[in-house]
Amino acid sequence: MKYPFPVGRSDFIQGDEAIARAAILAGCRFYAGYPITPASEIFEAMALYMPLVDGVSIQMEDEIGSIATIIGASWAGAKAMTATSGPGFSLMQENLGYAVMTETPIVVVDVQRGGPSTGQPTLGAQGDVMQSIWGTHGDHSLIVLTPATVQEAFDMTIKAFNLAEKYRTPVVLLTDAEIAHMRERVYTPNPEDIEIIYRKLPANKEEARYPFGDIHGDMIPPMPVFGKGYRTYVTGLTHDEKGRPKTVDAEVHERLIRRIIDKLEKNKEDIVTYETFDLEDAEIAIISYGIVARSAIRAVRLLRREGIKAGLLKLNTIWPFDFDMIGNIAEQVRKIYVPEMNLGQLYHLVREGADGKAEVELIPKIGGEIHTPMDIIERIKRGV
C-alpha cells in the first residue's frame, strides 16, 4: 500500500494535517464534512488524499448530514470520520446520540474554538468539554480523547479509531484551534508498525441475528455489515438484542443502556490514559488536558525550582472519567488546581472525584489565549 504522504519518518506539519494522515493510516476510508474554521484543513487534506487511497471524501450540506453520512458508511463496513468545530459539533449532537444508541464506530473530531455561537472562530478554547461528553440527550457514554501536541493529535487519532472499532462506539477527538493550526515535528511510523484494530464481525448467520446482544459476554456485540445477507435492522428506538424496537419495555431499555455505558465504564483501564509529572511526592497537583497541559508542565518545573512541591496529572482521556484516580490524588495532596481555557468544565468532574478530600481550585482563562506558565504559577503561589 502506497501512501500520499511520507511514512517511516518525521515531518513538520499542522495538527489538522496530522489528524488526516493518522486517520488514513488507521484505516479510515470515508470522510464526510462541512467547512468550518479551524477544522477545514482536516477536510482539505482528506479531500486530497482519499481518492488516491480509494477512499471517499464528500462535502455534505451541513454537519448534521456529515455525521449521518459517516454512520451510514460505517454500517456499510467503512472506517469513517468527520471533523468540525463548536457550532458544527452542536449540530452533530442528535446523530452522535444515534451512533451511541446503534453502537456505530465513528470518529468525530471537534477542533474547539471560542464560543458560544460563532464566537471566536480562529482562536482556541476548551469550551466544548461538557458538550463532548453530555451534548446528546439521554443516558449514554462515549469516549473523549484530548491531545496536547501535534504528535499526540496524530497518535490519538489512530487510538480513536482503534477504540471506536474495539468497543463499537463513537469516539470524539477533542482538540482545539491551537493544536490544529500549530506546526510541529511529527513522527509517522511505518504502517506495518502501527497496531490497527478492526471491529468484531459476526462469525456466522446465527451470531448476526443478535447485532445488539452480548453474545460473547464482553458487552460488545459483533457488528454485521450491510449487504452480506444478514438482514440486519438498525434503529435509534430502544431495541432488543435482535434489534427489534421495544419502546415501552422498561427492562429492555435498562438492559440496553446499561450495557452501552458499562462496556466503556468497565473497560476504563484499557481506555483511560494519562501521564504524570512529579506527582509522586507532590503537595500541590495540577490536573490538566489538551494544549494547557503544556503550560502546566512548565509551571510544575518552575515551581519545583522554587521549592514548591507541585506535580501534574495530564489527562489524555476525559471520558470515561477515572473519578477514583482523582480521589487518590486528592488524598495525597493539599490542593488541586485545574487550569482550563473555559470558565470551569472539567473542574466539576475533578471536584466530584476529589470529593472534599482536597480543595479544588479552577484557573480559568477565556478570550483565545492559552494560559502562560506564569498564569498558573502566580495563582498557585497566591495560595501557598
Partner: protein, 281 residues
C-alpha cells in the same frame, strides 16, 4: 404479471415477528409498501443487495417490517445516511421510505442536496399532508385551508410540491400518484428501481385517523374519492389554464432522464485524481 397474492408477497418479504404493523385502519402506507415489494419481486432483485433506509414518522417504520438490511435513522436525515451507505459500498441498492414532513420539512436540506448530487437511491414518499405519528399536525405539503392540530382554523401557508421540487433539483426519475393508482404506482417504482441516480415516486396516501377526521373525511374511501377529485393527470393539466389548477394536484411522470449517478461520478473523480497526481496506488 401481478398474479401473486398479497399473502405470498407478505410471506416472502416481511419479518413475521414484527407484525402486526403500527399502521392504522385505512392507512395508505401498506399499499405503497406492497407496490414496492411487488416491483422488487417483478424485477427479481436480490434482497441481500438492497438496504432500506428511513427517518422518523409512520412511513419510516417500514424498514422494520421488511426482511432486508435496514437503517431506521433520525428525523429527516435518511438520505444523508444513505449517502454514506451507497458511497461506501456502491454495489448496494438503496430504497428510502419517507414521509412528507420527514422529506420536505426537517429533511428538506438533505432531500434537495441528495437530488442535486444525484445520489443513487429510490425514494418512496408517502404524502398524507400531515404528521400522522404525532397526531395530525399540518405538514409542509398541506394545501391551503386543510386543517391540522397546529392549524386548527385551516392551513394559511403555501404548500410544497415535492415532485416539482425534485424535478427542479435534478432527479433522474420523478412520478406522483395516489395509492389509488396501483398499476401506475407499481410501474413507476419498477422504473425508479432500475434508474441510476435519484428516483422519486410520491404517493398521495390516506391518513383517515390523524388527517381525514379533521377534514371531514373520516374513512379511507372518502379520502380516495377526494384524491380523484383533486388530482389531474399530467397530459390534461398541460392543457388547463393555471387558475383552474389552483388547489389541484397533478399526477403522472414528471422526469425520466439518465444523468450519471453519484456513485459513478465519484468513481470517475477518483480516476481523475489519480491521473492528475500521476498516482498508481
Amino acid at each position: 404479471m401481478y398474479l401473486k397474492s398479497a399473502y405470498e408477497i407478505r410471506n416472502k418479504y416481511l419479518r413475521k415477528d414484527m407484525l402486526p404493523t403500527i399502521f392504522c385502519p385505512g392507512c395508505g402506507i401498506g399499499s405503497a409498501l406492497q407496490y414496492t415489494l411487488r416491483a422488487i419481486d417483478d424485477l427479481k432483485l436480490n434482497p441481500d443487495e438492497i438496504v432500506w433506509v428511513s427517518g422518523i414518522g409512520c412511513s419510516s417504520r417500514v424498514p422494520g417490517f421488511v426482511n432486508f438490511d435496514g437503517l431506521h435513522t433520525t428525523h429527516g436525515r435518511a438520505l444523508a445516511f444513505a449517502t454514506g451507505i451507497k458511497l461506501a459500498n456502491p454495489d448496494l441498492k438503496i430504497i428510502a421510505f419517507m414521509g412528507d414532513g420527514d422529506a420536505a420539512a426537517i429533511g428538506g436540506n438533505h432531500f434537495i442536496h441528495a437530488i442535486r448530487r444525484n445520489l443513487d437511491v429510490t425514494v418512496i414518499l408517502i404524502n398524507n399532508f400531515t404528521y400522522g405519528m404525532t397526531g395530525g399536525q399540518v405538514a409542509p405539503t398541506a394545501l391551503k385551508g386543510l386543517k391540522g392540530t397546529t392549524a386548527p382554523y385551516g392551513q394559511f401557508e403555501n404548500p410544497f410540491d415535492i415532485a416539482q421540487l425534485a424535478v427542479a433539483a435534478g432527479a433522474n426519475y420523478v412520478a406522483r400518484w395516489s395509492v389509488f393508482n396501483y398499476l401506475q404506482g407499481i410501474n413507476s417504482i419498477k422504473k425508479a428501481l432500475q434508474k441510476e441516480g435519484f428516483s422519486l415516486v410520491e404517493f398521495l396516501s390516506p391518513c383517515p385517523v390523524s388527517f381525514g377526521r379533521r377534514n371531514r373525511m373520516k374513512t379511507a374511501p372518502e379520502l380516495l374519492r377526494w384524491y380523484q377529485k383533486i388530482t389531474v393527470p399530467l397530459a390534461k393539466a398541460k392543457k388547463m389554464p393555471p387558475e383552474e389548477l389552483e388547489g389541484k394536484i397533478v399526477i403522472g411522470e414528471f422526469a425520466d432522464r439518465d444523468r450519471p449517478g453519484l456513485a459513478r461520478e465519484y468513481e470517475e473523480y477518483k480516476k481523475r485524481a489519480k491521473k492528475m497526481m500521476g498516482w498508481e496506488g
